[in-house]
Symmetry: C2
Subunit: 213 residues, 2 copies
């Protein structure tokens, strides 16, 4: 029974390639299943053999887009690196992947980011998965004595904020010329050496309430 499965796989692959072709040609404009079928030389009803709904199609597009990042995250989490190096690799390798993809085709990268923003319900699972893997690294760091007095969730949130432009593709595009692996390594080092609960500033409300004279 291998033939039908192969047929389905080939049809899906053709449709995903066609989505990329359409996004390349006209940006992040919405694509209907009918248009996609026509562009791929299929009948409108035939396309539903491969993707049962528009949502299923978008999920496959996202799966394709995130596949290499997930492979990197799994690989890093399973590695024997010491925990600061592990966290650096976790962010630096995905940053390198995104830069490479952006440089391959800046307009296509931008269009896929716009698509992702518009269909965030499809992307959310991948963001959560990234947080899940980061939480595993944070837990390992805590066992080694880092991040004292903070919870895993607090650390995940604070670390994501401190490396935000290296992770968020929209911000990455905005200030790419200022980002570098070297700076990221200093930031991760700063996090391991400085992040703990001693810094919650008790007088912050007073600092903020001071009004300009």
């Amino acid at each position: 029974m291998a033939r039908p499965q192969t047929d389905i796989e080939a049809g899906r692959k053709l449709l995903l390639t066609t989505v990329e072709k359409l996004v390349r040609a006209r940006g992040a404009a919405d694509i209907s299943m009918t248009e996609l079928a026509a562009e791929a030389g299929m009948s409108p009803s035939n396309i539903y053999r491969f993707f049962e709904s528009k949502e299923a199609l978008l999920e496959a597009v996202a799966e394709d887009w995130f596949a290499d990042k997930i492979a990197v995250m799994e690989d890093v989490v399973a590695s024997n690196l010491k925990v600061p190096e592990k966290m650096l690799a976790f962010f630096a390798r995905r940053f390198a992947l995104m830069c490479r993809r952006y440089e391959d085709d800046p307009e296509l990268f931008k269009s896929f980011c716009e698509l992702g923003d518009r269909h965030f319900e499809v992307v959310r699972g991948y963001v959560d998965l990234g947080d899940h893997y980061l939480a595993m690294i944070v837990a390992e760091a805590m066992e080694a004595g880092y991040f004292q007095g903070l919870s895993i969730d607090q650390c995940v949130s604070l670390i994501n904020q401190m490396v935000f432009p290296y992770v968020n593709p929209n911000s990455l595009m905005m200030i790419m010329h200022n980002l570098s692996e070297e700076k990221l390594s200093v930031i991760i080092g700063t996090i391991f050496s400085g992040l703990n609960s001693n810094h919650a500033h008790a007088e912050i409300k007073n600092l903020i309430r001071m009004t300009p004279s």
Copy 2:
């Protein structure tokens, strides 16, 4: 000769209010000087008495938009706060201003951000001014022994990256629900306690080159 000056000021103020009204009504769509004059009840030629060009108008809009942030930065830099508290106030008070303005009218805030992105040449001077004030605080911190082994420019760039979502209005809107003054205070504390040149990771290239199996 006070009368004509007052007249000019009043005309400018009317036109700036009219710009805000138009942006509120139709978003960040481009506004022509002719449309603006009509909306303000002026003749197309009369508007040039107040702003000699579209560029001069946009500069006045930006000046208006950044006025309170600049007042805050000047006030903080001139204050007698200890340097970690000074840097926290420098970022936290502008963050509070942006949140307040966003909450007042999210759509208007978004439209002004889009306008700023589209006319970045007008905004750039204000970004540079922010960096200039931050550099003054960094220099003060270095005199107090912080940030060893790094240059002022390196520190300004790294610190801007670590607080990016608290400073960049587009990122701020994107993850506002995750941002807080308390987290910002932990981040600034982490910077003061952990940022120095010991963290430039020599083996970063090897960490990045590892490919997923």
